[in-house]
Amino acid sequence: MAEPAATFLAEAVHHQWTAFPELSNLCYVHGRPAGSPAATVTVPVRPERAELRVWEGIEMVKVGRAQVWRRTSGAAAPHRYSAASLVRHGLTHEPWPRVWRQVPLRPAYDAVIVGAGIHGLATAYHLAKDHGITKVAVVDRGYVGGGNSGRNTAIVRSNYLTPEGVRFYDRSVKLYEALSAELNFNVMFEQRGHLTLAHNDSSLRTMVWRAEVNKLVGVDSSVIGPEEIKRLVPYLDTSTETRYPILGALYHPPGGTIRHDAVNWGYARAADALGVEIHQGVEVLAISTTGDRVRGVVTSAGEIATPIVVNCTAGHASLLCDMVGVSTPVVTHPLQAAVTEPVKAFLSAVVVSGSLHVYVSQTDRGELVFGASTDPYASYSTRGSLEFTEELASHVLALMPGISKIRLLRQWAGLCDMTPDFSPIMGITPVEGFLLDVGWGTYGFKAGPASGEAMATLVATGKTPELIAAFDLARFAEGRLVGEKGAASVGH
């Protein structure tokens, strides 16, 4: 197994993308290629020089002290997406390659990740990329991104309440900012600004609280007044005569939305290119253990031996935990969402109202995407209810009375793995080799990149990274809850 070189690579990647946008197929190379390079090209880049050395099937970019290797041939070389390739394909009708391979399930892997949502895929990607661990299978009973990762409202932000939370989600936002380039897949991250409205003095107080913690951790948040709110979102009724007057808002400029499918597919494609296998339609039915150690998994497609199982199954998290007798406080609640027909763009920011239990954003396609808090009861039903849409509509119209003629097009639900403190559970369990990346509830899409990175480090090194240490399972027994309800129960 290759030794971890995360910081080194992170730096190198940064250089690579600023210096050589056309290089993509990043890889970690075991040892050095034999012989001297076939060619060496030196490119001046500010402030250093960059050097490109080319061998058969492999090349290296050296920028300052940092170097990046990439494969230039072989099955794992991903096809690069760019405007130029789009034009080439348009002209030549050359078929695009598959985003990820379809390969038979092998009898053993170094790690099996259960769930091909963003958490499973990002973990697999970082295992391969940061740690060179590629004998990894991501298995899913359905299709890639068919769980909550394909059902969420795709809001990305870091304006949480606890310092631990803010720091963690901020890392994710940073990774999201560079993700399109990182994955060579446009994930359409739009930092359109995120507003959480306060309709009474107690929520205003919570907004100040969040803003203060955010600022202290270095995250851009502030409390703004009705005039500024009106300027950002002209369709909001900011008059004082309403039932729910808008007293102020927590404004978080880096917050925004992303295209969830693109993130899922981008990770799947990039992980696959590094050698990770993605197996759709494979359900984990049991987990076998010897003593308190994971030995393998029993799936609908046969048994697999593996020392490591990472639980990334969101709404099904507690079912998987039951297979190894790990007890967690996770309870699954449905969370509903809905989308309207498109109308011309009129809303650029994301708007959340905790008191009215609703949030809204407008997609590039012009649709309004709505969400709310979870259904109040535990359930595995994703059918949705009429009451949800009625309340949603009346609350949205209380905020924006002008849009009553827009029509609701579709409603759906996902299954959220809720924890008592509205924070996730990442890390080890009493069963060795059985790792948790669950408890993502209604807010975990934004967390995918950071948790994938951290979970991969945990798998590869056996050590829990500082960034996620506060979110361990033991906190529930030890009374170290990370209370995020005030920042996560309505706006996700």
Binding site: S82, L86, V87, P95, W96, R98, V99, Y143, G145, G146, G150, P163, A178, S180, A181, F185, N186, M188, N200, S202, R205, V208, W209, E212, V213, L216, R243, Y244, D261, E341, V343, K344, A345, F346, D364, R365, G366, R383, G384, S385, L386, T389, E390, A393, S394, L397, A398, G402, I403, S404, K405, I406, R407, L409, R410, Q411, P420, G479, G483, G486
Partner: protein, 938 residues
């Protein structure tokens, strides 16, 4: 840019009278389309009127801005969406023209005829499925700019910030049977159910009942006439037309969206039904070939509708591609209506269309026999889609019938849910009626009416499986997704229906796949070498058809509560404060003066919103012991005690007092915001763990008006008005409750408690006398300096006194000991809610404490939520409450603080929102004012 050729049309596209026409030629209407005036007849849709006037292009497509004309001539027509006045996305092929309508095309720039973005057609091959995922990646700083461009492509109409809300209504209905769909099978089902004695709601999306009979031949019209007559004679059937059953939820809870209602914009009817019969009929499927979206290419049912319902000639020279009897009939119909049928292609004999050609409108058709036929109309009849949406919502999974080339369901797919008509199979109209009638009777039986009936056989007939010709064309018109895109998606690995749908966005547009789904599956099956049955399908989710937010919301219904004393507050110009459901006086102009009045004389505050529960029964102490953290067994009659409730996790949930009024009678108060939650909480315990307890709960929150009389002169004031209660301190001490009359109003409850820290009495008077007692107190105490005080003054005083507010000085993780309630929590009680957690908490040190802080700089009141910082800048707590104290003349605060710093005298750093840091000292006690409680007990 090439303008779209105006189609060569006869001076008028209107035919002579048709037997089934729905237009009233005696009633002409005027409207405008893109600024030009047009005429319509009453009953015309926007599109039928425009077609009759020779227009054929109604929209530009989403991505390529291709001109589009009528396709299905139904609500789900993807190409006929227009803006009508302030209303976006109106279905022009469904919406009836109203006199004066101002209609405009959507998604055009600058106009329908000259659309600059049609340039996208030229670059279309680069805009293949998912193109945006593959580009705009670099350089990153430009992505926001690209995104703005993408946004301009958003299809759809416009809404204005100040558009009027409209009048939307809700209605509840309780019927035995809902029939969704008013074609022959649906009408018959309604009749069958009504005959069995059921109350029936028959819902039809079109403005008239009849389904496909309406635009059928003379036989169909005769049968429809009979059915209508039978319906008129039947009892117990309510018919809603221009209404659609949009959703079926658990327990046959059915949403019906009524689009035209006298006196309202729209209405949502919420129906609880014993049984649901889905009779949604069949939707004709388009055919995929090059040019299949050209104006002039339409479905056979569209042509039949235009001719028979609106007397509009859809073209002059037609090619008909038919795979079924319905298609053949339309060929005959067209010929009879004076359209020259230049060619008929029989798909059953493998004849097909290879391509449709034309600029802006169809001009010729290339056939599989190599012929090129000049035509301005191409009609296709290539098969059907079963709109099983409502059934999917009931958990039914339709199966794909290879021979019939469509999805089908059984007549009784799930308990309480039935299907009839085309969803189940094919038959003559009479056959459908017989099946519908029997299904109706069976549905009625399921709802408890009648004995049911024997179900006649109904199954689908064979039909050729036609999805795509030998060329590529559009699969999803509203999303501009072609069959090539679907092939590409499959080749890239997006090869399951869900992935391919998401990647191409096929079926995700406004019609949600009603027209497109099966073609999409057919093409995907072709691309992946699998069958539709193997592929499975995507899930149809509610609503069946889009519903306006206005209709879902209904009339604005956000009730607020005012106390009976509100007229006084208003007269005094009190500043209103929104506090959950209540609107309360924040202050009457000068809160500091109000504080001084209470501290020095006497003041009145309206505390009506305080939650009040009457608990009666001998086991009340047991209940109180279970819900509060302190002990209640020894509470004497006439005594009041403070209590705190925790949730199971030991987190503070609510606080208040509870007084024992009589042997088995207790009055409990809760916080104003907790009133509802505590009531539910009490009920929940009584109905679960406490079912054996003899306790009856009556919420009295609004039955009493509550007035707190506070200040050193309060006893003097009350002595002038109270009868039947000895107010002497020994007779009515602190923490006691008495019943008596105030200002002649009997049955008032008085308890002596004090949130403000002064001698004070809380009066609960029958609500109807609230204002009277309030004014009597003011009159009687004018010489004592009495006056009102508001919430703000109360908050200042409770802060001076160090009384916490649950939810402000505690948060979602604050367990009782961390709220300074150690003195109250009785861990030696056998059990109470939250005890295990509090026992656990009592054995540790490391939880945050509630402390009082005194900033050393007396001019700065640190705003609430300011953070407290430790030596190395880490967050160690926060200010939860802060004010300038008019009594003490310096700032006072409550704060949550890490345990290791929470000792009196410690100096901490307050980080103000403006960036400054100020030091503050931890005080000895939470109370800064009268910490001994002398005044309270005076």
């Amino acid at each position: 840019m090439r303008p779209v050729a105006r189609r060569a049309t006869p001076t008028s596209g209107r035919l002579g009278p048709r037997p089934g026409e729905v237009i009233d030629r005696a009633r002409p209407l005027r409207f405008t389309f893109d600024g030009r005036p047009y005429l319509a007849y009453e009953g015309d849709t926007i599109v039928s009127a425009l077609l009759a006037a020779g227009e054929s292009v109604f929209s530009r497509s989403f991505k390529y801005h291709r001109p589009r004309g009528v396709l299905s001539a139904t609500f789900f027509d993807p190409n006929c969406t227009v803006q009508v006045g302030e209303e976006p996305n109106v279905r022009g092929a469904h919406r009836r023209v109203r006199n004066g309508d101002v209609v405009s095309a959507q998604n055009v720039w600058p106009s329908l005829r000259y659309d600059v973005k049609a340039a996208n057609q030229a670059v279309g091959r680069f805009l293949s499925a998912g193109f945006y995922y593959k580009t705009f990646i670099k350089p990153e700083p430009l992505w926001p700019a690209y995104q703005q461009v993408l946004k301009r492509f958003a299809a759809g109409g416009v809404v204005g910030a100040d558009d009027p809300h409209g009048y939307y209504d809700h209605r509840y209905a309780h019927v035995d049977v809902v029939v969704a769909g008013g074609g022959p099978a649906g009408i018959a089902a309604a009749l069958g159910a009504a005959e069995a004695g059921a109350a029936v709601l028959l819902v039809e999306e079109e403005p008239h009942l009849g389904g496909h009979l309406r635009y059928g031949g003379p036989e169909a019209l005769r049968l429809l006439g009979e059915l209508r007559q039978e319906l008129a004679d039947a009892k117990g059937i309510e018919v809603l037309t221009d209404s659609v059953a949009t959703g079926r939820y658990d327990g046959n809870w059915i949403a019906v969206h009524q689009r035209s209602v006298p006196g309202a914009t729209e209405r949502l009817v919420k129906v609880r039904a014993g049984a649901l019969v889905v009779a949604a009929g069949l939707i004709e499927r388009p055919y995929v070939f090059a040019g299949n979206d050209l104006p002039g290419v339409m479905l056979s049912t569209a042509a039949a509708r235009l001719v028979n319902l609106y007397a509009v000639r859809p073209g002059t020279r037609a090619v008909v591609l038919s795979a079924n009897a319905e298609g053949d009939a339309v060929a005959a119909l067209l010929a009879a209506a004076g359209v020259e049928v230049a060619a008929t292609l029989d798909a059953r004999r493998a004849e097909t269309v290879v391509a449709a050609r034309g600029h802006g409108h169809l001009s010729s058709v290339e056939t599989s026999q190599g012929r090129v036929v000049e035509a301005d109309l191409l009609v296709t009849a290539t098969g059907w889609t079963a709109p099983t949406s409502l059934l999917n919502m009931a958990g039914v999974r339709p199966t794909y019938d290879e021979a019939a080339a469509r999805f089908v369901v059984g007549a009784e797919p799930s308990p309480g849910v039935f299907a009839t008509g085309g969803l189940v199979g094919d038959a003559s109209p009479e056959g459908l009626v017989a099946h519908g009638r029997a299904v109706g009777a069976r549905a009625a039986a399921a709802a408890g009416c009648g004995k049911g009936a024997v179900l006649p056989e109904l199954s689908p007939g064979p039909h050729p499986a036609l999805f795509r010709s030998t060329t590529h064309g559009f699969v999803d018109y509203s999303e501009d997704v072609s069959s090539k895109d679907v092939f590409q998606a499959a080749a890239e690995g997006y090869d399951s229906p869900e992935l391919a749908k998401r990647y191409t966005t096929a079926t995700m547009g406004p019609s949600q796949g009603k027209l497109e789904l099966v073609n999409f599956l057919g093409v995907l099956a072709e691309a992946t070498g699998r069958s539709i049955g193997e592929l499975g399908t995507t899930t149809w989710r509610p609503p069946y058809a889009p519903v306006s937010l206005g209709a879902l919301a209904g009339r604005p219904h956000e009730p607020v509560r005012y106390s009976p004393i509100q007229p006084y507050h208003e007269a005094m110009g009190a500043k209103p404060l929104v506090a959950a459901q209540w609107i309360r006086p924040d202050h009457y102009g000068d809160p500091d003066a109000e504080v001084r009045r209470v501290r020095e004389a006497v003041g009145l505050i309206d505390v009506t919103p305080l939650g009040k529960l009457l608990l009666v029964g001998k086991d009340t102490p047991a209940l109180l012991n279970q819900l509060y953290v302190n002990k209640w067994s020894a509470l004497r009659v006439g005594a009041v005690r403070y209590g705190v409730m925790c949730a199971e996790d030991g987190v503070v949930f609510d606080d208040g007092v509870c007084g024992r009024l009589g042997e088995d009678r207790y009055l409990m108060s809760t916080t104003s915001s907790g009133a509802g939650a505590v009531w539910e909480w009490v009920e929940r315990w009584l109905q679960t763990a406490g079912r054996h307890l003899d306790v009856y709960v009556t919420p009295l929150t609004t039955a009493y008006a509550s007035i707190n009389v506070a200040g050193p002169a309060s006893r003097t004031l009350l002595s002038r008005l109270v009868e039947g209660v000895d107010l002497a301190p020994e007779a009515f001490p602190y923490m006691a409750v008495r019943e008596g009359s105030v200002a002649g109003v009997e049955r008032c409850v008085l308890w002596r408690i004090g949130f403000t820290g002064e001698l004070s009495y809380e009066l609960h008077v029958p609500a109807g006398y609230g204002l009277f007692v309030w004014e009597s107190l003011l009159d009687a105490g004018s010489d004592l300096g009495v006056g009102p005080f508001g919430i703000e003054a109360q908050r200042i005083m409770r802060l001076e006194k160090g009384h916490l507010i649950v939810g402000q000085d505690t948060d979602g993780l604050t367990q009782a000991l961390g709220a300074g309630l150690d003195w109250l929590v009785k861990l030696d009680k056998a059990d109470f809610v939250g005890k295990p957690e509090l026992v656990w908490q009592a054995n540790r040190e490391d939880y945050d404490r509630l402390v009082a802080l005194v900033p050393t700089d007396e001019r700065t009141v640190p705003p609430e939520a300011s953070q407290l910082l430790g030596i190395d800048g880490d967050i160690v707590g926060r200010i939860t409450s802060s004010r300038h104290s008019p009594t003490l003349r310096h700032p006072i605060c409550l704060a949550r603080l890490a345990h290791h710093l929470a000792t009196p005298g410690t100096v901490v750093r307050i980080h103000l929102p403006d960036g400054r840091d100020v030091p503050a000292r931890v005080a000895e006690t939470l109370a800064a004012y009268d910490s001994e409680g002398v005044k309270l007990r005076a």
